[in-house]
C-alpha cells in the first residue's frame, strides 16, 4: 500500500475538507443546523456528541449520501453542494459504517478486492478472458490487498465469507476494504462500537498506524472518551445538530457546554 498522493493539491497541515454552514433537515427533523468545521490534512479529527446529535448524518453529508439544504463542502480545494457517493469515492473519500455494511456473501479477500474497483481499468473484453492484461491487473491488486490483510492481521480469514465472521473481525475487514481504496480522507463511524477491550486496543493501533504510516487523514466518530482523547488531534462536538465545541482534546474536555451535554443538563 502506498501513501496517498502528496501532490493532491493540499500540503500536510492545510485544510483538506471544509464544512461551511451546513444544515440538513428530514421533513421537520433538524439533523444538522448551521455547522462549520474543517479537517486538516494528516490529522485525526474526532466528531463526538450524544446519541442523535447528527454525527452519522454529518458523515453522510460529507460522502454524498445526504444533500444538505444549506451550506457548502470544500474538499481538496473544490467546492460543491451536491455529489453522489460514487463521485466522493472517486475523489478519495472512503468510510466505514456504524452498523457494518460488508458484502456478506463474499469472502474477506473479495470484500477488500472490491475496494480496489475504482483502480481497476481493464474493460469488459479482458474481463471475459481473464487472461493477459486482466489477469496481470488482478494479480497486481491482489498483492496490494494481501499487504492490507497482513497489516490488519486477518490472514487466517482470507477466504471466509464475511457473514460468518464475528463482529469484531467484520469491523476490521470493513476497515481493510476502506483502506484498499487508498483514500485521502477516511471516515470511520464508531469503529470500536461493540468491541471488547482487546479488540479496541487493536483497532486503536490500526487507526494510529494508518494515520502515521500512510499519512491518511481520518475523521472518527467515537463514544469512548478515553479513545477519543488518546487518538485525536482535534475534536468537534455536536449536540442536537449544532456544534457546541471545537478544539484540541484537552480544551474540549474542560469546555462547560461539553460537560453539560454529556452530563445531560436540562436546557
Amino acid at each position: 500500500m502506498r501513501a496517498p498522493d502528496m501532490n493532491a493539491g493540499v500540503a500536510a497541515g492545510d485544510v483538506l475538507l471544509a464544512v461551511e454552514n451546513v444544515s440538513l433537515r428530514f421533513g421537520g427533523v433538524k439533523a444538522i443546523t448551521d455547522v462549520s468545521f474543517d479537517i486538516r490534512k494528516g490529522e485525526i479529527r474526532a466528531i463526538i456528541g450524544p446519541n442523535g446529535a447528527g454525527k452519522t448524518s454529518m458523515l453522510n453529508v460529507i460522502n454524498g449520501f445526504y444533500h444538505p439544504q444549506e451550506g457548502r463542502i470544500t474538499f481538496k480545494g473544490k467546492t460543491r453542494s451536491r455529489m453522489r457517493p460514487h463521485e466522493a469515492a472517486r475523489q478519495g473519500i472512503a468510510r466505514t459504517f456504524q452498523n457494518v455494511a460488508l458484502f456478506k456473501g463474499m469472502t474477506t479477500l473479495d470484500n477488500i478486492m472490491a475496494g480496489r474497483t475504482l483502480k481497476m481499468k481493464r474493460g469488459f473484453f479482458w474481463q471475459m478472458l481473464r487472461h493477459g492484461p486482466a489477469l496481470a491487473e488482478e494479480i497486481e491488486h491482489r498483492r496490494v490487498v494481501e499487504e492490507i490483510i497482513d497489516f490488519l492481521e486477518i490472514e487466517a480469514i482470507r477466504k471466509v465469507p464475511v457473514g460468518r465472521l464475528p463482529y469484531g473481525l467484520q469491523k476490521r475487514v470493513e476497515l481493510g476494504r476502506a483502506l484498499a481504496m487508498e483514500p485521502d480522507l477516511l471516515l470511520l463511524d464508531e469503529p470500536m462500537a461493540g468491541m471488547n477491550l482487546e479488540e479496541k486496543e487493536d483497532m486503536c493501533r490500526f487507526i494510529l498506524d494508518v494515520n502515521s504510516q500512510f499519512g491518511t487523514t481520518i475523521a472518527l466518530i467515537e463514544h469512548d472518551m478515553g479513545v477519543v482523547m488518546d487518538l485525536s488531534d482535534r475534536v468537534v462536538v455536536l449536540e442536537y445538530g449544532r456544534k457546541i465545541a471545537d478544539g484540541v482534546p484537552d480544551e474540549v474536555k474542560k469546555n462547560q457546554a461539553v460537560i453539560d451535554a454529556y452530563l445531560g443538563v436540562p436546557h
Partner: protein, 358 residues
C-alpha cells in the same frame, strides 16, 4: 484422503486465484469435459443426445443467464422466457433475411438483441428492487409474449404461427433443420455452452463479478466503493439476457427445430427460476445441477418403471413423476436452502478433511 490440497502449495497469486485451485478439481473438470466431448457422443444414441443432453445443456445455459442476474446481482427476474424468445425470434429473422451468413454468427447476434431488450426492461431496477422488480420483469414477459403471438412478421407469416427452422450448415454439414444429425447439434450446443460457461466464470471471478455481488449484498456500500449502481445492474441485465437469448435460439434451432410462442410462456420462466434456486443462487456449477435435477430426473423417473419391468399406465407414471420431483424439491430446499451447489461444497469440504469429522 484423495481430495485435499495438502502438499499443493501455491507459490504465486495467479495459482491461488485460479478458478479451480486444487489439482483434483482440475482433474475432475478434465474428466467431465472428456465425458461430454468424447464418451457421450460415442456411447449415447440419438435419443439420448437429442432428448436428454441437448435440452439439459440449453436449460443449463439459460439457468446460468438467470443466475448471473438473480444469483450474482440479486435482481429477481421472471422475464427469462421472454428474453429467450427474443433470442429465438431474432435468430429466425436474421437467418431468414441473411441466409448466407453462418448460423453460429446469428446465434450470437440474437443474444445481442436479447441483451438490448434486457437492458431496456432492466431500467426500472435503479428505483425498484425485490418483488417489485419481479413484477416489472413479469410485465416484460407478458409484453414480449404478446409480441411473439401478435406480430406475424416475427414468424414470417407462417400459417402455423410458429418458427419453422430452415436447414443451415456449418462447413457443409447441416446443423439445423430436419437433416441435422443429433451428434452435430449436440457438438454445436456443447461447444457454445462450454465457451459461455468459461466466459461467465471469468466474469464472476473478476472485477465485474465482484461489483455485481457487491450490489447484491449491500448497494449503499457498493456505491461508496465507486461502483455506479445503474450501469452495474444494466450490465448484469445485458449479460444475463444475452445468455438467455442464446439459450432461446439454441432451444428452437438445435433442439425443437421449430417453436410456437407458447414455448416462451411464463411457465418456462418459472421452470428456469426453479433450476437456479434448486441448483444454488450465485453458483455456476449449481446451474448445471439445477438443470439436471429438474429436467433429467423426470425423464429417468418416467423411464424407470419399464426398465424394471413394471407395467404402469403412462398417465400414472406422469403423475408419479410430478409427485416425486415435487417432493424432492421440497426436501432439498428444507435440507439445504442454498441449493445443490452448497451440498456439493459441503461434501467436498468433508472429503478434504476425511477421515476426521472436521
Amino acid at each position: 484422503m484423495f481430495y485435499r490440497e495438502a502438499g499443493q502449495f501455491k507459490t504465486n497469486y495467479a495459482a491461488d486465484m485460479a478458478v479451480f485451485p486444487i489439482l483434483q478439481d482440475k482433474i475432475g473438470i478434465a474428466i467431465i469435459l472428456a465425458l461430454a466431448l468424447v464418451v457421450i457422443p460415442l456411447v449415447g444414441n440419438a435419443f439420448f443426445l437429442s432428448v436428454v443432453m441437448i435440452p439439459f445443456l440449453v436449460f443449463a445455459l439459460a439457468s446460468i443467464g438467470l443466475n448471473l442476474l438473480t444469483g450474482y446481482t440479486g435482481l429477481l427476474s421472471l422475464g427469462t422466457a421472454g428474453f429467450m424468445g427474443v433470442g429465438a425470434f431474432a435468430c429466425y429473422k436474421l437467418t431468414t433475411i441473411f441466409p448466407e451468413v453462418n448460423i453460429i454468427v446469428w446465434i450470437f447476434a440474437s443474444g445481442l438483441f436479447s441483451a438490448a431488450v434486457g437492458v431496456f426492461f432492466g431500467l426500472p431496477s435503479l428505483r425498484i428492487k425485490g418483488f417489485y422488480l419481479a413484477v416489472a420483469t413479469l410485465a416484460a414477459q407478458f409484453f414480449l409474449q404478446w409480441c411473439f403471438i401478435r406480430i406475424p412478421w416475427l414468424y414470417n407469416y407462417n400459417v402455423s404461427g410458429a418458427i419453422e427452422v430452415p436447414t443451415r450448415t456449418l462447413f457443409g454439414i447441416p446443423v439445423t433443420g430436419p437433416n441435422a444429425s443429433p451428434e452435430m447439434r449436440y457438438y454445436v450446443v456443447l461447444g457454445l455452452v462450454i465457451l459461455l460457461t468459461w466466459i461467465a466464470s471469468n466474469l464472476v471471478h473478476g472485477r465485474i463479478g465482484r461489483s455485481w455481488m457487491a450490489v447484491r449484498d449491500m448497494d449503499i456500500a457498493a456505491e461508496l466503493m465507486g461502483i455506479k449502481l445503474l450501469p452495474t445492474k444494466l450490465l448484469a441485465f445485458a449479460v444475463s439476457s444475452f445468455y438467455c437469448g442464446v439459450a432461446g435460439a439454441l432451444m428452437v434451432f438445435l433442439w425443437y427445430g421449430g417453436a410456437e410462442p407458447e414455448v416462451f410462456s411464463i411457465n418456462q420462466s418459472f421452470l428456469i427460476l426453479f433450476m437456479v434456486i434448486i441448483g444454488g443462487l450465485g453458483s455456476l456449477i449449481g446451474s448445471f445441477f439445477g438443470a439436471a435435477l429438474i429436467y433429467i430426473l423426470p425423464i429417468v423417473l418416467r423411464g424407470a418403471p419399464s426398465l424394471v419391468g413394471l407395467d404402469i399406465g403412462a398417465a400414472t407414471v406422469e403423475h408419479l413423476t410430478f409427485m416425486i420431483v415435487g417432493a424432492l424439491i421440497i426436501v432439498f430446499l428444507i435440507v439445504e436452502p442454498h441449493g445443490l451447489a452448497r451440498l456439493w461444497q459441503t461434501g467436498k469440504q468433508k472429503l478434504r478433511v476425511w477421515p476426521f469429522p472436521y
